[in-house]
Every structure is written in C-alpha cells, then in structure tokens.
Amino acid sequence: MAEPKNSVKTQAGASLQEIGMRKRLNAWAANHQLVAVETLMRLLSNPLGSLLTWMVIAIALTLPGALWMALDNMEQLSGRFQASGRITLYLTPKATEQQGQQLSDRIAALDSVANTEFIDADTALDDFRDNSGLQAALDFLPENPLPAVILVEPPLGIEQAALLRLIEQLKSYQLVDSVQLDMAWVERLQAMLALAERLIGVLGVLLALAILLVVGNTIRLAIAARVDEIRVVKLVGGTNAYVRRPFLYTGLWYGMVGGLLAWLLLILCWALLNGPVADLAELYGSGFELKPLSAGAAMALLLAAMLLGWLGAWWSVSRHLDHIEP
C-alpha cells in the first residue's frame, strides 16, 4: 500500500514534509531577517511620511526623559546639601565655660570642619528668654536648665561619609552629651523630589499611552494600505504570525528611530542648559555640573521606545488584521 501513496506524493507533491526541521528553522530566521531589513527600508524610503510619527514618539519620550535628567541632577545636588546641615553639640552640665571654649577651638581646627561657635549656658538662657516669651516662668527656675552648646559648620559640599565620620568623632569627646544634625529642610527637599519622581512616573505612563496610540494608528494606516497583499498572503497559506511580522517590525523600527531622536534631543537639551547652569553654580561657589543622561539610561530609553513601538503595532494588528480574510 505504501507504493501508490509514495508515487502520488512525488507526483502531486505534499512538499512541506520534505523540508527538514532544521531547514525550516533556518528559513524562519531568514524570513525574520528579510522582513526586518525590508520594513526598515520601506520606512527609510519614505522618510517624510515616517518623520511625523518618529517626531511624535521622540517628543513624547524627550519630555519625561528631560524631567528625569533634571531630577537625577537635583538628587545629586540634594546629596551635597544633605551634608551642609549645621551640627549642634550639647555639652554635659559639668563642662566649664573655659573647657567649652577650648573644645570649640579644637574642633574648629579639624580638617572636616569649616567653622565653630561656642555658646555658654548663660548666653543660651538669655537667648531663650528673649525668643520664647517664657521670661516669667524661667525666672522661677532655681538654676539654668540649658547646657552650653557648640555649633559646628561642616564645609560646603562635604561627602556624606565624611560627615558621618565627623559626627562619630564629635560624639567621642567626653564633654559632649549629645549631637544633633539639623536636617529638617533636607528631608523636606527629599520629600519634594519623591513627589516629583512620582509625577514624572505618571506623566511617563500617559506619554507611553500616547506613543501606543500613535504607533497603533500609523500601523492601522499601513495595514489599510496593504489589504490586497494581506488577502493574497492569507490565500496562499500565510499564517497570522507571517502576516503580522512585517507590521510588528515596522512598529519596532518606529520605536527605535523615535528613541534615537529622543536621545539626540536630550543631548541637545543638556548642551543648551549646561553652560548657564555652570555659570549659576559658579556664582554660588559650587562646582556643580549638569550631568548628561547616562549610557544606561539612554539604553533604557531606547529599549522602552522599541518595546512601546512593538506593543503599539501588536495592539493595532490584533485589532485589524484578523478581520481581513480572503
């Protein structure tokens, strides 16, 4: 029985089984490569038509990218500010005025200290009496409850690690009862930065949705322009994956070129702002410099753009392609 079946096969030719698995895999990879190159060429052959989509993607990515770059720089700046808080040393009650003044002078001589100020207990009480409005109550106290204080000012721009070392060192003096770092405003700044980060996140999600819609719509038009081809391909046995493939690659390329343009725009933003920022920083006596987008962040931006392009295409293709039947 095998004989006539074989002869029919060689005549009429059920050909798919004759192709080995390995060859089919190679052909599949070759088709991916072919489609990838073809779709890119198709986009580049009509740069003006593609430019609009590219620019929309680029701008939608540049906006959160620029804000993110700004935030990154603010965090770098706040890291420096954190270290510029004033340190208050409360001395033990048994410390005499003379000992306190000597300690203050010794601390001022340290490398990691810019300046110190000694306030003896009586002066502290006078200040408190003037500022608090509790004059009458304080007069009833049998003795001065306030300790003597040394205010320590670390140099501007000290590293956080150095600051922590300094605090440990200050704690180790016998006359020092407790050490307090005034950080309230730094904490407020950081809370604001966290809020800004959240806002950028929300903005980023909205703009990502916009990219999905723009790519989706562009792909919808591309599908409409190639309805005949899709019909023929389905008619001669093209699978949905085969039909989808060029459109998914097209979305990927839209995302990639848009991402590259966004990256260029961010570099341009940085170049435009870097000079004025450096001037401003110099006026404040700071060596602060605007950091450009890091290589990792640029890569992440590009990958996100490609993913968004691909997803936008997928969304559009799954909505429109299945309705086109021969």
Binding site: A12, L235, N240
Partner: protein, 230 residues
C-alpha cells in the same frame, strides 16, 4: 482515492440567501472536472468552501481526507498550502516582480531562497513565462497575468488545483491555451476543478461536468475530446 468529498453541504449567507443546498459529490485524486452554472449559481461559494474562505452551514467537506469542519483557525493556512487557486482577476501584487509573486507561497511555506528560486523557475517554465521573471505583472497582457497566477497556484505542487473563471477575461484562443495548461497539470497527477461558464469551451474539451443551478447540483457528462468520465 478521494481528493474532495462534499456530503450534503448547504450554505446560507447571513441575510437568508441560500447559496448552496444539499450538495454531495466526490472528486477522485487526479481527476479533471468543470463546475458550471449561471452566474450566482453558487460556483464561487463551492470553491471557497474547499479553501475554508467560507464555512458550510450544513454538511461536511473533506479535502485530501481531512474533515474541514474539524480544522481550527490556526490550521487553515496549512490546508491552503495544499490547495492552489486561480482567480479570474488573478490577485497578483503589482508592487513586486513576477518572480516574487510566484515565490510568495514558497516564502510563506519556509523554503530557502535557493530552493524557492529553482521551483519558481520550474513553475514559470511550465506556463511558458520563463523569460519574464523580472518584469512587473502590470506590464503583462491579460493572458500572461493569468499564467503568472497559475504559476503561483502550482509552485508549491498542490494536490488540488481550483480555478474560478480563469478564462473570464480572455479571448477564445487564449482561453483554450489556459485550459490546456490545466490539463497538463492533471496529467502529472494534480486534481483539477475549474469553475467556468464558458460552455462552448467546456463542451469542446469534454470531461466531467458538475452543474450548479440555483444552489443545487446536477451531474452532467459530455462526450468529447477528453473522453468520458463516469
């Protein structure tokens, strides 16, 4: 061996129009048959059922032993790779060369470019268009375009070849040429079913004849040059 089997097949389109009713027939492997009838008799619908471009409302269709009613949507492309189709309007793509048009089914089926190239040239040779690979189909005459369509339909060596009014737009001489091409494919073992209302040509050629009349099927055999089928 049966290539095609229709078992009490009916097709009703949404809106209530009964395109086919109670259709039963078989096509043997390697058979050559015509499908005739007035326009609107259901010829195209019947062909579409074999490609799963339409699904029957009632009854069952078998192609190459496969019950098409059991095929999932994902399996349809693989059925279509076994069936070659030729249309009156040829459905060629004018944004690519003759070669690329014919190579499309092979590209889809996963042939390497070298293998595909060999088969495309063989298919073009069999329809007499070997020198025209690089031309755009739009530059070709109607008869030549139809032959490109036939080359595309046979390039994957399908077991079944369907044609829907393949000579609809051609003059009698070209029509006879096209029909002879189909006959040559039958001679190498392909099952061929041609829908046509070109009665004169069909009668001249003979062969088995399936006649559709308002959705009902009648068998008719005509003695002629091709002999009698029973």
């Amino acid at each position: 061996m049966t290539m095609v089997q229709f078992d009490r097949v009916g097709k009703r389109y949404p809106g209530g129009k009964e395109a086919l009713s109670g259709i039963s027939f078989e096509l043997a492997r390697g058979e050559f048959a015509f499908l005739t009838g007035h326009s609107g008799a259901g010829k195209s619908t019947l062909l579409k059922l074999m490609m799963l471009m339409e699904r029957p409302s009632r009854g069952q269709v078998f192609v190459d032993g496969q019950n098409l009613g059991r095929l999932r949507a994902g399996q349809i492309p693989y059925l279509r790779r076994k069936v070659g189709v030729v249309f009156q309007n040829h459905q060629l793509l004018f944004d690519r060369s003759v070669f690329d048009n014919v190579a499309l089914p092979l590209q889809i089926a996963g042939y390497t470019p070298a293998e595909a190239g060999r088969r495309v040239r063989a298919a073009l040779d069999s329809v007499g268009l070997l020198g025209m690979e690089k031309r755009n189909p739009i530059e070709l005459s109607g008869g030549e375009q139809q032959r490109v369509g036939i080359a595309r339909a046979v390039v994957n060596k399908p077991a079944l070849l369907l044609a829907d009014e393949p000579t609809g737009n051609l003059d009698p001489e070209l029509s006879a040429e096209i029909m002879n091409l189909f006959l040559r494919f039958q001679q190498v073992g392909v099952t061929v079913l041609i829908a046509s209302h070109d009665i004169a040509l069909i009668e001249h050629m003979g062969h088995r004849r399936l006649i559709l009349d308002h959705g009902h099927l009648h068998e008719g055999q005509i003695a002629g040059a091709g002999g009698i089928y029973g």
